[in-house]
């Protein structure tokens, strides 16, 4: 063994041991008795110790967000201000979420007296649930993908395993359905807000150029078809689902909306969001509190905490938990995965990287948790309701010159090398623009083109989701009032 630099040594104990995939021993690091069944980043766990480990991480992530004011107690009694809504996609993370929430907070029976009634009465604080009621919201997206199967009934079957949960099925086209909007407490509105995505400045369409009454499905398809890239389509669908779920939570008086985002999915979401210009909302990607505005009663206007209790549990751990606890996974349709957009590219990249560099996903999440937005926000985005940064358009026009209409360029025009390239006169656009009310990500979603050129969709104005009217209704209505032909 001369190559190790210690030729005198013949003792095997003195040789450098090979690094093992697991820690020092094959015995569970927790109970130190049973042989290990799973390796989680070099630590070995047995099956019996593994599930409590996952639920412990789950509770540690969730419980600090439950009580608005815990007082000075180190272990405050858990009591949420409102109801609970869980977002369910049929995937691994949300299936594990439902199971743990049910087994931890809804399956325990309070002690009963001789007559079978809870000791102390049903309203005794000890016998009350953390949340008065719990619902599971599923948004069916099959209308957005040709040939995709409707899986609402399969999902209903999976949710019905948990009798304490109420099933709330929604469809992605509800985002364009006035009747659904009124049903969830939104203000009724006669006019349809549309935007012309063929024009760079995103002019709101006047009543005369707005397409005739479309069904919600047609509106949604027109909206998605007018988006410039597959990335934009995938991002728009994700945002529609998110906003539908938020409004469902609001309308049901929820104080907490739980998502089944695992650590792996969280890291993918963070990198994907940053790659689409969403750096300003990195904090919201991790933990968010949404305060609805413009809705009447206090119960449906209370802030909703959006919590990801599986944020410290990797996808591998979720899979093992689901397998060992016999959790039925409905699964997700592959059509959505076929979109070659930034979200799916990021997923492939992170999942691939995790094999060679297993700590990457947790590093990404931990690093992003140390970040904060640089400046105070300038209102909320009309589409995603996340904070809007100041000066987005100035920044974009400074770093990418798209026309010679810019004042700075007009000043410098005399230095233009080509006498043929005089700045052309730009036609004045009489219609108000959606641009100032969008965050960087949503503006990029609507405007950033593919390298293959602009899609030609016949330039029909794209209808906007119903909540965009609520967000900017009064200002926008004033702005376009002169162009509206009816009420």
């Amino acid at each position: 063994m001369s190559s190790c630099g210690n030729p005198q040594s013949t003792d095997a104990d003195e040789l450098m041991p090979r690094r093992l995939k697991f820690g020092r021993s094959r015995v569970c690091v927790r109970c130190r008795e049973n042989p290990g069944n799973i390796v989680i980043r070099h630590a070995v766990y047995c099956r019996d110790c593994f599930s409590p480990l996952v639920t412990m991480k789950f509770r540690k992530a969730l419980q600090p967000a439950i009580n608005a004011s815990a007082g000075t107690s180190k272990r405050p009694r858990l009591k949420a201000e409102g109801n609970l809504l869980m977002a369910f996609s049929g995937g691994l993370g949300s299936s594990v979420l439902l199971d743990i929430i049910h087994s931890t907070y809804f399956s325990g029976q309070p002690p009963v007296d001789e007559d079978g009634n809870p000791v102390g009465g049903k309203k005794h604080p000890r016998n009350a649930s953390v949340w008065p009621s719990a619902s599971v919201c599923y948004v069916e997206v099959c209308s957005a993908f040709p040939g995709m199967r409707d899986r609402t009934e399969e999902v209903r079957g999976a949710v019905e395993q948990y009798p304490s949960f109420e099933f709330v099925p929604l469809r992605v086209e509800d985002a364009f359905d006035k009747s659904w909007w009124e049903q969830v407490g939104g203000a009724p509105s006669a006019f349809q807000l549309s935007v012309d995505l063929g024009i760079g400045n995103l002019s709101l369409a006047s009543a005369s150029s707005t397409p005739p009454d479309l069904t919600p499905v047609e509106s949604m398809r027109t909206y998605l078809a007018s988006l410039p890239t597959p990335t934009a389509v995938s991002s728009a669908i994700q945002n529609l689902v998110r906003m539908l779920t938020l409004h469902a939570a609001r309308s049901r008086g929820a104080s907490h909306l739980l998502l089944g985002t695992s650590l792996t999915s969280l890291s993918i979401g963070l990198i994907s969001s940053i790659s689409q210009g969403g750096g300003y909302a990195t904090r919201e990607e991790l933990q968010e509190e949404w305060t609805p505005s413009g809705f009447g009663s206090t119960e449906t206007s209370r802030p909703i905490s959006i919590v990801r209790p599986l944020r410290d549990v990797t996808m591998k751990e979720c899979a093992a938990y689901a397998w060992w606890n016999d959790i039925k996974i409905v699964g997700r349709d592959k059509s959505a995965r076929a979109i070659q957009g930034i979200a799916n590219l990021t997923k492939d990249f992170i999942v691939g990287l995790e094999k060679d560099y297993p700590s990457t996903v947790s590093t990404i999440a931990r690093t992003c948790a140390k970040l904060a937005p640089k400046d105070a926000p300038n209102g909320n985005c009309i589409l995603c309701q996340r904070p809007v940064q100041h000066g987005i358009q100035e920044w974009k026009s400074r770093i990418s010159i798209r026309s010679y209409a810019d004042a700075k360029l007009a000043l410098a025009a005399h230095t233009h090398p080509s006498s043929q390239c005089d700045p052309p006169a730009q036609p004045l656009d009489p219609m108000p623009s959606l641009t100032p009310r969008l965050c960087y990500s949503c503006h990029t979603t609507l405007t950033s083109r593919s390298s293959r050129g602009l899609k030609t969709t016949g330039h029909l104005p794209a209808p906007l989701p119903v909540w965009s009217k609520q967000s900017g209704q009064s200002e926008m209505r004033d702005a376009i009032a002169d162009y509206l032909l009816d009420g």
Partner: protein, 388 residues
């Protein structure tokens, strides 16, 4: 080597192939080859001959030059990078970025009367078959742009060439040595030129890649500063990236259409696997949506490290051995050099390994060290361009 300075048909053919490969490697932005000739989306007069990678617009050659240069000008103005009379060193490797940077800096300096005194500063890492050839390009640039040139070598400064380092440590981790040594060498070279500012050719792709890399490896300190256009330590010269928003593809296009003379070979010692993954990922993102590069930079500019986290970061200090800025008692360059000198170079890459080398005892007195850094030094004479 890509040389478009002459009209040799064979060279021209090679050049076109290299450019076509560079531009078409990952997507379709490039020279416009549509059936019907479109007019330029900017001036509306001339025929469009290229599709801009950054915006997707089909534009003419003159408008491309104009917007490319004007965007760099806006970047310089917006950040107030220079003041009249500043002495500015352009970090020149002979590659496409630094060659285009030297050309654009000279153009803008003349066009907008920046009143800057420009220098070329090159670092010779001592990589046979790579740096020696690229330095020949820099020497030609010196003549073409009529700028003084200073070349500082690793051998002169550290007593080691990269060839010698690689022969001791192998190719793995050699980029760590090269990167750390180059950063300090640039500052030392700039100090000898007595300049106020160093500009480097880092482009938008480099910055977007660095943002992703720093998030993925949890380097919060670098993440906080990697999108800054200008960085300056307490004891170092200002360093800026005027091409911060310029796409790599556009830099190649600019060099091609301007017929600039640059050296296009990849470094022979650059197998940085992790960075390679990040770069490949970025190229995929760019192919999916070209604005991804600028969107990542926007993200990087939109967030900052939280105040309570900043408070836990190490304060900057001065290296006790060479006087250069450092976050530890010994700067990284001195640590790496000590490892090389003691024949334990691989033991000083990580902090944990560094503790092991410390446990072996103090460095011997006979150890070769880096000369003490003083900034700025008096002006020294540099090689002036000869007008032959």
């Amino acid at each position: 080597m890509l040389r478009r300075g002459d009209s040799d048909p064979e060279t021209l053919s090679v050049s076109v192939q290299v450019l076509t490969l560079s531009l078409r490697r990952s997507n379709h932005c490039s020279l416009v080859r549509s059936m019907a000739p479109a007019s330029c989306a900017l001036c509306q007069n001339a025929k469009a001959i290229l599709k801009r990678p950054k915006t997707g617009q089909q534009i003419c050659k003159d408008c491309f030059f104009y917007v490319f240069e004007t965007e760099v000008h806006h970047t310089i103005l917006e950040s107030s990078l220079f003041k009249p009379g500043d002495r500015v060193a352009i970090g020149a490797s002979g590659g496409k970025d630094s060659t285009v940077l030297a050309y654009v800096m000279k153009t803008l300096n003349d066009r907008y009367n920046y009143a800057l005194e420009l220098f070329l500063l090159s670092i010779d890492e001592g990589i046979t078959g790579y740096r020696d050839d690229s330095l020949e390009t820099v020497k030609r640039n010196q003549q073409q742009y009529d700028m003084p040139l200073k070349i500082l070598s690793y051998d002169e400064l550290y007593g080691w060439t990269m060839d010698a380092i690689v022969s001791q440590i192998g190719k793995k981790n050699n980029c760590t040595f090269c990167g750390v040594f180059r950063r300090q060498a640039l500052d030392r070279g700039a100090a000898t030129l007595n300049v106020d500012h160093i500009v480097t050719g880092h482009n938008a792709d480099d910055i977007a890649e660095t943002v992703l890399m720093n998030i993925m490896r949890g380097d919060i300190a670098r993440l906080g500063r990697c999108t800054m256009i200008c960085t300056q330590g307490e004891d170092t010269i200002k360093r800026s990236k005027p091409f911060k928003y310029a796409y790599e593809k556009e830099i190649v296009m600019y060099a091609y259409f301007k017929k600039l003379d640059y050296f296009s070979t990849e470094c022979i010692y650059s197998p940085d696997a992790y960075r390679g993954h990040a770069r490949a990922f970025l190229k995929d993102l760019e192919a999916a949506r070209p604005s991804a590069i600028i969107d990542i930079i926007h993200s990087g500019e939109a967030f900052e490290v939280r105040e309570e986290v900043k408070a836990t970061q190490k304060a900057q200090q001065t290296c006790i051995r060479c006087g250069y800025m450092s976050s530890n008692e010994l700067c990284k360059a001195c640590t790496l050099l000590e490892g090389l000198e003691r024949g334990m170079a691989n033991s000083v890459i990580t902090d944990r390994a560094r503790k092991k080398i410390n446990a072996l005892g103090p460095a011997p007195d006979s150890l070769r060290t880096i000369p003490h850094y003083r900034s700025p030094l008096p002006v020294v004479s540099v090689e002036a361009p000869s007008h032959s």
